[in-house]
């Protein structure tokens, strides 16, 4: 195992444990670690909203910037001061969640293959965030701004890009003029606009983007930041004075950490780190990785153009085009670059029902590595072998808790690429073919490796999404269990509990009528 794989594995385990721990308090839908991208966007909108107010009161003269911002904190602490603090703390939180988001996506291996585009478009955004953040500190023009401006220009001067040292602009009090702050404000607005544009590109290839965290999470985070703003309002340092070197700086370590790092190393070392990290991030997807799984395949005669796969695909990999053989009909077309090979489309296809009588079940869109026909055959074979008082079928996710380990004479297990590829009709089929109960397990809320697999499964089984579970299926014989990778024990306990419930409750009359497939051989 390479060092990279070992590091990534350790990081993934750490994230999984942290997420599972936080799930106990927040649940999957509100768990901040499971929605870092959405949190980042939320902090960005706070920055935009508070920034607009700060811009309206900003006087872009040398003394004016310091005094106008200081006035907010002193005279209008209840509004402008709070908004200023929110602006500061949201920017810090934005940097924090951005770094965690990047680390998490790397840890889960979500940076190559069909995710290449999202990864590569995300890397430049890190630069824009820091350019915007560092420039934002300069606008206040206090001693911290002075320190950062000089440290940044000294760092830039190491690069052979300016004919004259940029740090000469901050030599003495008469070195800068009012125009400097006009340009600075222009940059501090322009770079975040570029960031928003870049974020649009970053999420462009995924559908149903998690633009914001849950309302509960947003309210709680806003309450936390407001409390922080009131308890510890963001204040300016003493006004900048280029005749004096700033000492004892209350540094923002989230945004300005590069300055001390330059002091303890060198500009060359810091640029090597910055460019090295950037190149590494860009190169990461191109390192050797296991071959991509086969993508979804459309079978034209069995595709009726219903577009459910198009609606359910988490990566906008499916588009609808005119059907080549059926005039007036449409057909699903898979974009190989975007397809995650998750199988959610196969689960959404109405043709994926195992009740069809063909000997070989061919559906409209299928996964070559785990065709729906193979699933049916495997299910029939396993049900035929089931013994015991209460026979269960467990459908699981290869990325979630390992269901194969739970295989037993009274328990048949089927591991799917993603739980989202389970057509609800398979649940009915299992019950009508001899199973007493069905367990469907997948990753926890917000933890689905393919984003929407578990969400669509829940909705389909709850009869809120097509293809839905038919009313003939009694819900008391179905158990949905969220269990992440490594939660096999919890899953086993949930299955035992379900079995006990089936055995102790009076559910005998609720079982749907038995079904035996009439096999037709097509020639």
């Amino acid at each position: 195992m390479s060092l990279h794989l070992a590091l990534r594995g350790a990081a993934q385990t750490s994230f999984e444990r942290s997420e599972d721990f936080l799930d106990t308090f927040f649940g999957g839908a509100d768990n901040p670690l499971r929605h870092l991208g959405a949190l980042g966007l939320y902090f960005l909108w706070i920055l935009v909203a508070t920034g607009l107010y700060l811009y309206t009161v900003l006087d872009t003269s040398i003394d004016g910037v310091y005094n106008s911002i200081g006035w907010l904190s002193r005279e209008q602490w209840y509004l402008g001061g709070v908004l200023r603090s929110l602006h500061r703390y949201a920017s810090d939180a934005f940097v924090l969640v951005m770094v965690l988001h990047l680390l998490r996506e790397w840890a889960y291996g979500r940076y190559h293959g069909f995710r290449l585009y999202s990864w590569v478009t995300g890397v430049p955004l890190v630069w824009l965030v820091f350019i915007s953040g560092i420039g934002g500190y300069w606008i206040v023009w206090d001693r911290l701004a002075q320190f950062s401006a000089i440290a940044t220009t000294e760092l830039l001067d190491w690069l052979p890009i300016f004919s004259e040292p940029a740090a000469r602009n901050f030599l003495a009090p008469d070195s800068i003029n009012d125009r400097f702050f006009t340009v600075l404000v222009f940059i501090h607005i322009g770079v975040p606009l570029m960031l928003i544009l870049g974020l649009w590109a970053h999420v462009n290839r995924i559908s149903r983007v998690d633009y914001l965290p849950s309302r509960r999470a947003m309210a709680a985070i806003m309450a936390s930041l407001l409390a922080l703003a009131l308890v510890k309002p963001a204040l300016s340092d003493l006004p900048a004075n280029l005749a004096l070197a700033p000492t004892g700086l209350r540094l923002d370590w989230f945004v300005l950490f590069l300055h001390p790092l330059t002091d303890i190393t060198s500009p060359a070392a810091v640029w090597a780190l910055i460019f090295g990290a950037t190149i590494l991030l860009f190169a990461l997807p191109f390192l050797p990785h296991p071959a991509a799984a086969p993508i979804a395949v459309v079978d034209a005669p069995n595709c009726n153009g219903c577009s459910r796969c198009h609606a359910d695909c988490p990566y906008e990999a499916i588009t609808m085009a005119p059907h080549p053989d059926k005039p007036g009909h449409r057909i699903a077309v898979v974009d190989a670059d975007n397809c995650a090979a998750c199988g959610i489309c196969a689960g959404s296809c109405p043709s994926s029902t195992p009740f069809r009588s063909q000997e070989r079940l061919v559906t409209g869109i299928d996964m070559p590595q785990q065709p729906v026909d193979a699933m049916r055959q495997q299910l029939e074979a396993r049900i035929a072998q089931l013994q015991g008082r209460t026979r269960l079928v467990v459908f699981g996710c290869a990325r979630g808790a390992d269901v194969a380990a739970l295989d037993a004479p009274d328990t048949a297990t089927l591991s799917l690429i993603c739980t989202g590829m389970l057509p609800p009709s398979f649940v009915e089929y299992a019950l009508r073919s001899g199973a007493d109960g069905v367990v469907v397990t997948g990753c926890r809320d917000g933890g689905c490796d393919f984003r929407l697999g578990m969400e669509w499964t829940r909705e389909r089984l709850a009869r809120n999404r097509e293809p839905h579970l038919r009313a003939i299926v009694p819900l008391d014989r179905l158990q949905l269990v969220a269990a992440s990778r490594g939660e096999g024990i919890q899953l086993a306990a949930a299955i035992d509990e379900f079995r006990t419930r089936l055995e102790t409750q009076s559910t005998a009359g609720t079982k749907p009528p038995a079904f035996s497939r009439r096999k037709i051989h097509h020639g």
């Binding site: 939180a93 004259e164 004096l244 070197a245 700033p246 004892g248 540094l251 001390p260």
Partner: protein, 169 residues
């Protein structure tokens, strides 16, 4: 987890998040220089000299009328030698090279020196045309530096060449 316990856990975790953000947004305090240290910033941007030759009347006559400049000056500029001494001891000694592919741009330097606060004899010598030996610009003065004070050494022909700049008491 029971709801009250989950809510309590959320309050604690969101509080920890806010505390983490709040603490590292201003702490720990960073000191770039020690309390008893002052800064000398040596920075200048100056065109080096060049040796021009006076054209002879015969040479001028051969040129088109609109190009009869009396002096023939090379495009390239001289390197600039710069020496900084503190209490008679060399603190910095460099040769600045002209920028530009044709070496016709300004020569620049930007250096920051940390010195203990106190009184020093500060001397800066510059030769902006190395064809000529010695230093054609010299500035020497006794300076008193207070803690955190910044003294700038710059060059401006309009201010008489080399000059020191520091905040007045």
């Amino acid at each position: 987890m029971a709801k009250p316990a989950a809510i309590a856990g959320q309050i604690i975790l969101y509080g920890a998040f806010a505390a983490f953000i709040g603490y590292f947004s201003t702490a720990p305090t960073y000191r770039q220089i020690a309390d008893d240290v002052a800064l000398i910033k040596l920075s200048m941007s100056h065109l080096g000299g060049r040796e021009c030759r006076k054209r002879t009347p015969e040479e001028l006559a051969k040129l088109p009328p609109n190009m009869r400049a009396p002096l023939d000056c090379p495009r390239g500029r001289s390197d600039i030698k710069l020496v900084l001494e503190l209490d008679g001891k060399p603190l910095f000694d460099t040769v600045m090279h002209p920028t530009g592919l044709s070496r016709d741009g300004v020569s620049t330097v930007y250096k920051r020196f940390e010195v203990k606060a106190g009184t020093y004899q500060l001397a800066v010598k510059m030769n902006d045309n190395l064809v000529v030996p010695g230093f054609n610009f010299v500035k020497e003065a006794q300076v008193t530096l207070k803690p955190a004070q910044v003294l700038v050494i710059d060059f401006n022909p309009d201010k008489g060449g080399l000059f020191f700049q520091q905040a007045k008491d």
